[in-house]
Amino acid sequence: MQNSYVNYSKLGQLKIQQMAFMLVAVFILFSMVGLVYVSITSSQIDSETKALRNQEAVESVKKLSGTAEFAFKSGGDCSSCIDLDKTLMLKERSQYKNFWNFDYLMIEKVYPNETERECTKTNYPECNKITIIDSNDKKIVTKTTFVTLARWDPNLGASGDFRYELGRIHISAKNIENG
């Protein structure tokens, strides 16, 4: 009688052990599945965050074209255009070197673009770049966006007209890089 009681107890223990192992196995399985899911989701969130930061930085670059120093107000309905003639004059003024707290600020003409060189009063408009600020730091990372460049073209139309071209604005600053 005593012997059989011990056997029954062992069987019960075995069953409890078996159940415990099964529960542990199922728990580990679900934990692993959960871990895989969480890691995939978090990597997607990471890339989305980067894209949003980049977009925010580009939007802040775009905003610059609407400021009084660059905005084209002479004619037409292009409030977000950059006045290229005004920008060339701005380049000559040393007061603007530290005005925006940028490390780099450059306006580039993308199309039409026949000659690749820095704009000066003598070669304008046969040039494609107006560099307003250049800290000569080669490690800078720039944010770029497309803008419309407007300038007076005396050869356009009967007695001259404003010509609109495609350009890019390049900016580098610590607050922009950090998004």
Binding site: L11, T145, A150, G157, D161, Y164, L166, G167
Partner: protein
């Protein structure tokens, strides 16, 4: 009760013969004697090994079912992600804004040059520029040059190709493609990003154009 336990119960029921004298488990439910009780214990102990195996099989079945459910879930998720979607891109959005005002080489009166935005409307009308060139041809040439000067398209670069499309959409919703050819480069199938613009023309009609990069 798990799967193994269920199989074990079925086997026990099979072992009970209809004739109580021939049944292997006769008196199992109400063992009256000490011998009967001992017999029952011996049957239980001899079958405990089998029961353990069956419960293991049950566990494996559960794990397999969970794995299959997980795989189905994963498959559905992956197939959802594989649907080619064009993501809105601020880069193409700014490009479309900037190119709208671009001064084209087309003039209808000899002194006012049309912007690309106006040229879409004249292309839809089939207007001819001074000099006899079709407005659609000028539009196509300008767009191609603008896009291809703005990005460096090659299999190695971040931007592998593009597709530009323009439609005239009437008030009733009928769509006609504008006569613009060759505004495509590379094979754009994945990682599409782009944007579109709508230009109202006339009463309820509009021109919709879009640029997609890949």
């Amino acid at each position: 009760m798990n799967w193994g336990g269920f199989i074990f119960l079925l086997k026990i029921l099979k072992m009970v013969d209809k004739n109580p004298k021939h049944s292997k488990l006769r008196g199992i439910f109400k063992p009256q004697t000490e011998t009967g009780r001992n017999n029952l214990r011996s049957i239980e102990l001899s079958s405990s090994n089998k029961r353990g195996q069956e419960e293991m099989v049950g566990l494996v079945v559960i794990v397999i079912i969970v794995a299959v459910i997980f795989l189905v879930f994963l498959g559905i998720n992956i197939s959802k992600n594989n649907v080619v979607k064009t993501q809105k891109s601020s880069e193409t959005s700014h490009f479309l804004d900037a190119m709208e005002s671009f001064t084209s080489e087309c003039t209808l009166n000899g002194y006012t040059y049309l912007s690309l935005s106006d040229l879409f409307e004249h292309c839809n009308k089939g207007s001819l520029c001074v000099g006899g060139k079709k407005s659609c041809e000028v539009l196509e040439g300008s767009l191609k040059a603008l896009i291809e000067k703005s990005w460096n398209f090659s299999p190695e670069s971040a931007t592998k190709g593009y597709r530009f499309e323009a439609f005239f959409e009437s008030e009733s919703g009928k769509r006609n493609k504008l006569d613009l050819k060759e505004l495509e480069n590379g094979n754009c199938t994945t990682q599409l990003r782009g944007d579109d613009r709508v230009k109202p023309v006339g009463k309820g009609d509009k021109i919709v154009y879009s640029l997609v990069l890949c």
